[in-house]
């Protein structure tokens, strides 16, 4: 960390320096001085942060103390840790560092960001931290949080070896209370050892024998043919925007005006060509940029993708591990006993290309879109296979794959509601545009567009209606919904920790309700749209039998 933050600031300074070198003078000296000043401040802040940030791992908690002016103490109980995420940007990798993000189960309202970010610890330390925090050994030894200076010439730690996984410091530098030991976060560069742990790695390694190497099973790896799905994802489009913005920024920093590199001349020439040709050309260029950009992003994100299951001998549960990334390497670990289900996402475009993506629902994974992605966009069959493989250890004898369970269709009212919900707004829009066209003739071109939207809305409604379905397998509650972003969710019945049933006035007239299974994982709740009230109660009754037998008696039993 001591190195990374200032280095980042220095990199930001590079374009200015380049301009200085090229032109021999800066046309904006103030900007240069501001940059230098900011960099000095950042370096200073980095030093202060490094000096004041400490973490320690006790048998019960992981604690992070930070801040100089505003001191912060955050701690996470170890038994609540759900996932450990290792990320390394190219800069971090240069110094063999990792950002370790420890995520804990939040109680929803209380700890919105229930987790800690350790930026940055040594690569080996990160791996051993992960192993230690996720594999809950019955009696965890008091751990030495520190660091472990990885000698620069040591080979990168593999998953199988944890050189710094010491049970205790042999040199007796543990604090008097013997419970824990603190160390500065971030292996300092050479010569700046924290002094809390002896650097004699071999001696320290001796007591480790109690933890054997984990056994690793590979569940999936990258196939380069999947690159064809890259342009079909929305995040790819967003990424293209980011690239364009970055390129523009760079040009700006270099002091190059778009005019000087001929953009204006090109625009003029374009303006002289016929309209259809211009539109076609611009469209083709945009498409090309989108495709190339999304492929580049795909490669950066998913290079070296591997999904593995690792488990210690004798431990009942292992952990799923997703490793990926070309420049920025990412590695997500999910404790297997924290998995509550899987989801297969099929956004419209990806579905059109017969692709899908499997995600894991685990307590402690955030609600953000990428949360829990187990694989890159992949062929549909592969997505279902990975989803099933992720759950295989939890429920070995479930057939068929949970996300491919045949689903019960929803009542006709559900289909009708999809159509009314899509067509009524489209119709209102059409009426509004027709009226607007009558009143202001200048807006006369609007209503044909609105008219064009009506059949689109109908198609979308049909698609959404066909998606609806639910099923109850012996282990899972499976539900599917959505058109633009379709998803099939298989939620463990034991992972359901509550129920919400909603009924709007329209649903009351149609005689349906929306049942939401509340869970600690993923988005927190997964709805089953528009089912008959009796079906909803029967589902609740079957998934949580205790509730309706003694708690909330049924008035009239019904069949699913």
């Amino acid at each position: 960390m001591l190195v990374v933050a200032p280095a980042r600031a220095l990199i930001r300074l590079v374009p200015v320096l380049v301009v200085l070198l090229i032109t021999g003078r800066s046309d904006d000296p103030i900007r240069l001085w501001i940059s230098v000043g900011i960099t000095a401040l950042v370096v200073l802040a980095g030093v202060v942060r490094w000096r004041t940030t400490q973490y320690r791992i006790t048998p019960e908690r992981v604690e992070l103390h930070s801040g100089w002016v505003r001191r912060q103490r955050r701690s996470v109980p170890r038994d609540r840790i759900r996932t450990v995420d290792l990320t390394a940007t190219p800069l971090h990798r240069l110094f063999r560092l990792n950002v370790v993000v420890v995520r804990a189960a939040g109680t929803g309202t209380e700890h919105r960001h229930g987790g800690l970010e350790l930026d940055a610890v040594g690569a080996a330390e990160g791996d051993s931290l992960r192993a230690e925090l996720l594999d809950r050994v019955e009696v965890a030894p008091p751990r030495v949080g520190g660091d472990a200076p990885v000698a620069p010439h040591l080979p990168a730690p593999s998953l199988a070896s944890d050189p710094s996984d010491t049970a205790a410091t042999p040199d007796g530098s543990a604090p008097p209370d013997g419970s824990a030991q603190t160390a500065a976060v971030g292996p300092p560069g050479p010569g700046a050892a924290t002094g809390t742990v002896g650097t004699g790695a071999p001696a320290a390694r001796e007591p480790v024998a109690r933890r054997s190497a984990p056994s690793t099973v590979e569940l999936a790896r990258l196939h380069w043919s999947w690159v064809r799905f890259a342009p079909l994802t929305f995040s790819a489009l967003a990424g293209v925007g980011a690239i364009a913005a970055a390129a523009f920024n760079l040009l700006n920093e270099l002091g190059l005006s778009p005019r000087r590199i001929g953009v204006e001349a090109a625009a003029e020439r374009l303006a002289r060509t016929p309209l259809w040709a211009a539109i076609g050309l611009v469209g083709a260029v945009l498409l090309l940029v989108a495709v190339v950009g999304s492929v580049v992003l795909f490669v950066e994100r998913w290079w070296g993708y591997r999904l593995t299951r690792e488990s210690q001998d004798g431990a009942r549960w292992g952990r799923l591990q997703v490793r990926r990334g070309l420049l920025t390497t990412r590695s997500l670990s999910v404790a297997e006993d924290r998995i509550r289900g899987v989801a297969v996402h099929e956004p419209l475009l990806l579905r059109a290309g017969r692709g899908a993506q499997a995600r894991v629902l685990s307590t402690g994974l955030g609600r953000d879109a990428q949360g829990g992605a187990l694989q890159p966009p992949a062929p549909r069959a592969e997505a279902h296979r990975v989803a099933a493989a992720a759950l295989a250890r939890l429920h070995p004898d479930v057939r068929p794959d949970p996300t491919r369970t045949p689903l019960t269709r929803h009542p006709p009212a559900a289909t009708r509601r999809r159509f009314t919900r899509a067509l009524v707004p489209a119709g209102l829009l059409l009426v509004a545009t027709v009226v607007a066209g009558e009143v202001w003739p200048a807006l006369g071109w609007l209503w044909p567009v609105a008219l064009f939207l009506v059949p689109l809305a109908a198609l979308l409604a049909l698609d959404r209606a066909r998606a609806l379905g639910h099923a109850l397998s012996p282990v899972y509650l499976v539900s599917r919904l959505g058109g633009l972003s379709r998803r099939t969710v298989a939620l463990q019945r034991s992972g359901v920790i509550g129920w919400r049933v909603r009924q709007s006035p329209f649903q009351r007239r149609a005689g349906v309700v929306t049942l939401e299974a509340v869970t600690a994982a993923g988005q927190g709740g997964y709805p089953v749209l528009d089912i008959a009230p009796g079906t909803a109660v029967a589902l609740i009754d079957k998934v949580s039998p205790g509730l309706t037998s003694s708690g909330v008696p049924l008035e009239e039993p019904s069949e699913i």
Binding site: A105, R509, V518, S550, V552
Partner: protein
């Protein structure tokens, strides 16, 4: 909630046993009026100070009428609908006016029990009890309980949930 019809349009579950405190009607009424006032006052100020356009007078009157109508009618409906029950197995509530919502949280999954007194609630001697589970979507709130009832309920729930083991996820 009418039941017994061949095709039940509401949930075929027995509604929770207890009503909220009758003073909750007053609380909902005050809240409705306060909300209407928050919308009406800026309009009033504009009309008086700046002599606003005539349509603003119209919206102002509409706001006041809607607020009064809401305060007169809706709180009673809310009182009729809102119900709660704590059994050995679950916390069970029914709430809502236009959109009805049934919430069930198994006792074994309850993590925290909070009691809350807003300023209006304090005025009327009311309290809300919120029962949280491990899910962000899971909290179950019982609003408009008498203060003493709420305290007793929270105590009872805390006792019950302490007996449960595990981290309830």
């Amino acid at each position: 909630m009418q039941t017994g019809s061949p095709v039940p349009t509401a949930l075929p579950l027995r509604p929770p046993a207890h009503r909220v405190d009758p003073r909750a009607v007053g609380w909902w009424r005050l809240r409705g009026l306060a909300g209407a006032a928050a919308v009406a006052l800026p309009q009033l100020v504009v009309v008086i100070v700046l002599g606003g356009p005539s349509w603003l007078v119209g919206t102002l009157i509409a706001t006041v009428v809607a607020g009064l109508a809401y305060a007169a009618v809706v709180p009673r409906i809310l009182f009729r609908i809102h119900r709660w029950e704590i059994t050995d197995e679950a916390v069970y509530t029914l709430s809502g006016w236009l959109v009805r919502e049934w919430r069930i949280a198994p006792i074994s999954r309850v993590q925290t029990v909070d009691t809350e007194h807003g300023p209006l609630q304090q005025l009327l001697g009311l309290a809300s009890v919120t029962v949280t589970t491990a899910s962000a979507r899971g909290p179950v709130t019982i609003r408009g309980l008498a203060t003493a009832d709420a305290a007793e309920l929270a105590r009872q729930l805390t006792e019950t949930t302490q007996a449960a083991h595990g981290d309830a996820t």
